[in-house]
Subunit: 367 residues, 2 copies
């Protein structure tokens, strides 16, 4: 993302991830090359150097403080993305059980449910697949298993733009949540959670590292086939340094957290998120169905806003014209088409205002 | 690493990995921030954008051309480091067999052997553990299993500085090799290999991505418990984009390969490697045992040169004085202590010459 204060046309990157980074973070990264420590760049630093180990400790502290993570949770920084967690969760947490409960509300929770079939018989608590993932199934229709080791759900579906307005209510089992696209956009009450994971390339930094926040009492019960680098107990024991860490990705995550702290706390971030998404939803709702949000209102995501235009031709025109004025990566995911505006923390209000203005103007001239 | 052409004291980083990057590569990375494509940095680019997919194809082509990789091999770019491959290899390649053969010649091959115990009964072909990993066991003493699915070995042991002078001779099974620390430092005859892997942070770029070169006929026989992100067949089918790729790590790998191509071919690189390591070994061998290389001469590594001084006090002094004049990260791995100079492709000859001079001077004044 270019600096809005520069003379160049500002670029606003609405991609769903890898997503835009704060301008301040990009500038810091640039300034740190080639000399982050004693004439070496951060990319050339051993993960065993005290200066790097201190950095990782401060990163954990920043995340703990921002999210108010209770002491009974470990915070892990693992290789790879959320997809790896789709296997890591059952491998680590089934603990001999042959069943685990899954709520399916979009592409990613469905994939988590499918990947779990490698390790158990996942029990489908509810699915909105038949409604094309435009809602969260009514809680009264949810059908829990008796023996399920946990309940997995995806707090925000990046592709379908469906978000849980509040955590699912569970009894007798821990909630496991993929919060890749909406972590750090609201306060979290950890009391019902066993584990929360989020890959970094949306609200936490860049692709290649995943944060796992896991209740310590759940550690150490993994299946014998669990690769060490996917074992939560191993990662906790080795302070996420059991093998060479993705040093640069971890460092960027740290810079993003420092930037987030400057914005305020999770309440501040939730308000910003609400304000930005409301701007776009208002344009959609006031467009006489020129723009259509496929999602039932109460489940609309505050971070991923998918929308359709009246025809594929108009969508292409919309994307091309938006692109030309610096509103980038607004194309919807290939599985659903259409358009999508991702409004993570790093997206400034001015970018969203510019998109809202452009949408209104486009509707006026082409509607 | 700072530019040797600048006015600052040149910094030479002898770390074993994450290791030094070529100055040109660091400058290119800095120049590409914040605008790599249409006003976005490479860290903010979707892995699905055509411009990124074209980049990854050219990276694969560069690697294929540098190493002369035959068409019957797939080239995969996977999340994480070599440790993940210690599990991925048996998960993907056992193909129902309960045995696989392992040669143990240092810390990493021993860890690969141990991790394999999660998935099979690995058969110890030979080990130099009792000789403190100072040699490769004599081939005539090797004891192969009859049924072993493959033979795993580590072509160069980063910690112990032991390197195979030529590939192990095998019959009736494929060679599987961890070449993390010496890939791209010599030509490879692929005819005996089933699979070669290398994490990037030594000769290929930065931590967070691993290259896997695998014979296509071995794909698709993975254990049902293999996580999709660790399945070679899945990675091949999805062009290593089955989930969000570590975009930045992949891009740096591409820059390093372009830089390597400018240096020449694998023969050129092998010569440079030989020249640099000979400089240091000559200092060691001419020091009247002031410096000691623990490794039997014919198995000395051309990329990792561990050495001892007469006392722990002298080693500390050596490391401190070296550090003060810009010779960085010469400390040996914590498991073995002492000193170690890593001489990967990005380490310029001038750096090695400066180290050799310093070693001679230190010996003269303290010896």
């Amino acid at each position: 993302m270019t600096d809005p204060k520069s003379n160049k046309q500002p670029i606003y990157n609405f991609g769903a991830g890898p997503a835009c980074l704060p301008v301040d973070v990009l500038e810091q990264i640039r300034d740190d090359i080639p000399d982050w420590y004693e004439g070496m760049s951060i990319m050339e630093i051993s993960h065993r150097l005290p200066v790097f180990m201190e950095l990782t400790q401060s990163i954990e502290q920043d995340l703990r403080s921002l999210l108010t993570i209770p002491d009974e949770f470990a915070v892990l920084f693992m290789h790879g993305g959320a997809r790896t967690q789709f296997s890591a969760v059952p491998l680590n947490l089934l603990n001999g059980s042959k069943v685990a409960d899954y709520l399916v509300t979009g592409h990613w929770s469905d994939l988590a449910y499918q990947d779990a079939q490698r390790y158990c018989q996942p029990h489908l608590v509810a699915s909105s697949k038949e409604e094309h993932y435009t809602k969260i199934p009514e809680e009264k229709e949810w059908n829990f298993s008796k023996q399920g080791a946990y309940l997995h759900y995806t707090d925000n579906e990046t592709i379908h733009g469906v978000e849980f307005p509040h955590p699912p209510k569970v009894k007798d089992k821990w909630l496991i949540s993929d919060m890749t696209s909406n972590i750090l956009t609201k306060p979290i009450d950890f009391s019902s959670y066993g584990l929360i994971y989020a890959s970094a390339q949306k609200n936490l930094g860049i692709a290649g590292i995943t944060v796992v926040i896991v209740r310590k009492e759940l550690l150490g019960k993994e299946h014998p086939f669990t690769p060490p680098t996917m074992s939560y107990a191993f990662c906790e024991k080795t302070q996420s340094m059991g093998n060479t860490s993705p040093v640069f990705c971890w460092y960027v995550l740290g810079l993003v957290l420092k930037w987030v702290k400057k914005q305020g706390n999770c309440e501040t971030l939730a308000n910003a998120c609400k304000q930005k998404s409301t701007l776009i939803y208002d344009v959609i709702d006031n467009s006489n169905n020129f723009y259509i949000s496929p999602v039932v209102k109460e489940y609309r995501s505050r971070v991923n806003v998918p929308f359709r235009l009246p025809s594929a031709e108009l969508e292409t025109l919309f994307l091309n014209e938006a692109n030309a004025i610096g509103l980038k990566q607004l194309k919807g995911h290939k599985t659903v088409g259409g358009c999508r505006a991702s409004l993570y923390n790093a997206m400034p209000l001015e970018g969203v205002e510019k998109l809202a203005e452009f949408m209104k103007e486009f509707e006026k001239t082409r509607g």
